[in-house]
């Protein structure tokens, strides 16, 4: 609800509930370990913090970036074994060993992540399971180093420098510190460019790439941060229990438990994993207490059933439900004032004022010698089929070029060749005099100031309208506040500002089409490729979108438009090229095209006029 200036104000005011409620929670967490002095209770609190840390670390990859890793146990184990071995063999303090372990785990993660991130979701999960299991076997059989299945016992020498303490309290505070740190990191990520990028790539990787997101790098960075905390938690575990063995620190159920905590608590949210830990860990301890005595494994049966039921019936977790309750709660507390609402409902699109402007705002078509964009002899085959055959054309700065042709003529293929979804077999593409043939992946094309939309709109469904546009804006600015400003400007322009806090999934078709335009516009393109933006809209909606497209053109943005709705393309385009069976069969101004014999034949069937 709040605007950027608004939130900055509240963050300075200690008497605002948005500040004092979280602060009170943190203070509460700090006194939690020392409330009753009883070892069972202390152990429980410590385990909640410890599991909360691990789950929040897993959430960065599994929740934010949407890459389901079931091999996190491998990094946990590497952390535990590295610091322990360094301590046992070389007497290196676990405080340093912790970072050595994290470093090693990160190196391994990079080696694994690069090939595995190319896999589709199910296979990524599969590859990570396999990886974790292999490390468990290696640790079991490399007896010379790890003593195999017997495990490693750490002699108890309590001292701060040895990362060993007589009481559980210091451990509890270290775990709390780790947990608060990962919450803070998650919070910062969630509100930064990087976080927007992660969530956008989870929602739709192609759309994210098109808006300038380097998806492979983002996934890798998320993995590295996640692995760091996971490995550090591994060291903590070793120092707390003073015993590690492959079957516990490399166990697959550990990886699954991280996911379970996160899913129950709220996948992809900042505090969801911690909420999950607060609910499930006490439950787990109780289960172990009551059932574990009867037989080992029973608690995992319960866990497994909870997991299956949760993913079938409640995949959204508790945090989502909690949020709808938390915000109104804050508003009822003293000091909240009026933090939002009301204002902004009547934002009129900047476009109406501009549309009433005379044509002088239009820079017009630049008739200069060198075109802005040039395609020469572009060809692409898929299997035996020539999708695009020897296509050449130019687009001048400020021009609107239409691309039409019957279904399957190869129009979208041309867009995909230009925007880096696949490379052409032959031919040359130039933009602003620079060759960009085969430039891939798509985010590199976006950075060159070429934007595009998709025929089937690709909104980031679980992000708000504002956040959707901010993803595009981040391709030009770093700071969230700047991206927000730019997004506001774009939302005003496309007439969506009244929906800025709604989830993209709640928009109507027509508004999703506007949003699609808005995301692309936020990347500040000089050339914008529009793929059937008015398809499926009713005449009134079509008119509105056409007005927006005209306004975009008036801003000096060059447009290249695929459209099936002839009325739209005939009124918009300065020039039109016609594609049929992958070949260019006509090129000219709209009036010429609509009379062209070959075009009429291609569209309506030959002999139509006969």
């Amino acid at each position: 609800m709040e605007m950027s200036s608004n939130s900055r104000k509240t963050s300075r005011n200690p008497f605002h509930p948005q500040v004092y409620v979280p602060l009170a929670l943190v203070v509460f967490l700090f006194i939690l370990p020392i409330l009753p002095r009883n070892p069972f209770y202390e152990d429980l609190i410590l385990m909640i913090f410890f599991w909360g840390t691990l789950a929040a670390a897993w959430n960065l990859v599994g929740g934010f970036a949407g890459q389901i890793s079931l091999g996190h146990t491998a990094f946990f184990g590497i952390g535990a074994y590295t610091s322990t071995l360094l301590w046992l063999k070389f007497g290196l303090s676990p405080w340093f060993g912790m970072f050595a372990g994290a470093g090693l785990a990160i190196l391994v993660a990079i080696g694994i992540g690069v090939p595995c991130f190319r896999l589709r979701s199910h296979f990524f999960a599969l590859a990570t399971i396999a990886f974790g299991e292999v490390l468990r076997h290696v640790a079991s059989y490399w007896r010379g180093l790890t003593q195999g299945g017997v495990g490693l016992l750490i002699p108890f020498k309590p001292e701060i420098g040895n990362f060993m303490f007589r009481s559980k309290i210091p451990y509890a505070y270290i775990a709390l510190g780790l947990m608060l740190l990962i919450i803070l990191v998650s919070y910062i990520i969630r509100n930064s460019r990087f976080g927007f990028y992660l969530i956008s790539l989870r929602e739709d990787q192609d759309a994210a790439e098109t808006l300038g997101v380097n998806t492979s790098r983002c996934k890798l960075v998320a993995l590295i941060i996640s692995v760091f905390f996971t490995a550090v938690a591994g060291t903590f575990y070793a120092q707390y229990l003073l015993f590690i063995d492959p079957d516990t620190v490399f166990s697959l159920p550990l990886s699954i438990e991280l996911a379970l905590l996160t899913i129950i608590g709220g996948l992809g949210t900042v505090i969801g994993p911690v909420i999950g830990a607060f609910i499930l860990i006490p439950l787990d301890v109780l289960l172990r207490g009551y059932l574990g005595g009867i037989s080992a494994g029973l608690n995992f049966i319960v866990y497994g059933i909870v997991l299956v039921v949760a993913v079938i019936y409640f995949p959204r977790g508790i945090a989502g439900w909690l949020r709808s309750w938390y915000e109104p709660f804050l508003r009822r507390l003293p000091g909240s004032g009026q933090s939002g609402g009301g204002e902004g409902a009547f934002t009129s699109p900047a476009l109406t004022s501009e549309a009433s402007d005379p044509k002088d705002a239009n820079p017009g078509v630049d008739e200069g010698k060198s075109p802005l964009f040039r395609v020469q002899s572009l060809s692409k085959r898929f299997g035996g089929l020539a999708a695009v055959r020897d296509i050449s054309f130019e687009i001048k700065k400020g021009e609107i070029l239409g691309l039409i042709g019957p279904n399957g003529a190869g129009k979208t293929t041309i867009f995909n060749l230009i925007t880096g979804f696949f490379p052409p077999d032959s031919g040359r593409i130039e933009f602003k005099g620079e060759e960009i043939t085969g430039l891939r992946p798509p985010h590199k094309v976006c950075i060159k100031y070429i934007g595009r939309t998709f025929q089937l709109v690709k909104p980031f469904s679980n992000m708000t309208v504002m956040e959707n546009v901010m993803v595009g804006a981040f391709s030009r600015v770093r700071r969230a506040s700047e991206a927000k400003e730019e997004a506001m400007r774009v939302l005003d322009f496309i007439g969506l500002s009244m929906y800025r806090d709604s989830l993209a999934s709640s928009l109507t078709i027509a508004d999703r089409k506007r949003l699609e335009l808005g995301k692309a516009l936020a990347t500040k393109p000089e050339l914008l490729l529009l793929d059937e933006v008015v398809a499926g809209l009713n005449p009134r909606e079509t008119e509105e979108i056409i007005e927006i497209i005209k306004a975009i053109s008036r801003q000096g943005i060059t447009l290249f438009i695929i459209e099936h709705v002839m009325k739209a393309i005939m009124t918009l385009s300065h020039r039109i090229i016609v594609l049929h069976h992958g070949e260019k069969i006509a090129e000219g101004i709209p009036a010429e095209i609509s009379r062209d014999r070959k075009v009429i034949d291609a569209y309506l069937g030959e002999e139509y006029l006969a």
Binding site: G408, L456, V565
Partner: protein, 242 residues
């Protein structure tokens, strides 16, 4: 040919449907009489394929009724609808590419009624498309575009349809083959099979149609005899915007 004497085969009353995000139908009503060729024309995204998929049961209609031979079918699953004799030949053919021509045809006759007569059906489609007999042991994915379209039609015929629905059968075919496809459709109709045709090729599809409907934005904007509609300037406008 008088058409008013024939019984109604398929009757759509006020059908509305939502298909993924983009395409939708709004109160579409259309009627197909036994033995007719009925064409649906309209630009991309107008809802032509959605209409066929709603009839086939692939998309659940949100309101309205569909009657086939007097029986309500709008809530039946796709395989039950095929059993009743409504068969769709989908856009882009969707053959089983790693199966032979013969296997593709056999799968066309999957429903129990059709399966009984597989042998004679096979003879009949081979008479219609002799080239398929020559290639019966070839993988469907290795056929040429024209042959693939023939196979798609033949596979649909194997189901012994009472109503055959074709979605863009001329898509991506060279002009000569396009003509052939429409000849085939006429031939199939002459054998007594009712045809519902969705096409971009307005000229051909309207000139063979007994009746036709023009769809725009998921609504029927024009309906009447095929030849009448062909000469209606509104059609040309919808397509070429002039």
């Amino acid at each position: 040919m008088p058409i008013w004497g024939r019984s109604i085969l398929l009757d759509l009353e006020n059908i509305s449907a939502h298909y993924g995000d983009v395409q939708a139908l709004e109160n579409v009503s259309l009627r197909i009489k036994e033995g007719q060729i009925v064409s649906i024309v309209g630009s991309n995204g107008a809802g032509k394929s959605t209409t066929l998929n709603t009839i086939s049961g692939v998309i659940q209609s949100s309101s309205g009724t569909i009657e086939f031979l007097g029986k309500r079918i709008e809530n039946l699953p796709p395989h039950r609808i095929v059993e009743l004799g409504i068969v769709q030949i989908p856009e882009a053919r969707l053959l089983f590419p790693y199966m032979t021509v013969l296997e593709n045809l056999e799968l066309g006759a999957f429903n129990p009624q059709a399966r009984k007569g597989t042998g004679e059906n096979l003879e009949a489609v081979f008479r219609l498309f002799p080239v398929l007999e020559d290639r019966k042991n070839q993988l469907a994915g290795t056929l040429s575009g024209g042959e693939q379209q023939m196979l798609a039609i033949a596979r649909g015929l194997m189901a012994r349809p009472k109503l055959l629905m074709l979605d863009e059968p001329s898509l991506g075919l060279a002009p000569l083959l396009v003509k052939q496809v429409f000849e085939t459709v006429k031939e199939i109709n002459a054998q007594g099979i009712t045809v519902l045709l969705v096409e971009q090729n307005v000229f051909h599809s309207l000139s063979i149609a007994d009746e036709a409907y023009v769809l725009e934005n998921g609504r029927v904007v024009l309906g009447g005899q095929g030849k009448e509609i062909l000469s209606n300037p509104q059609v040309k406008e919808a397509y070429l915007g002039i």
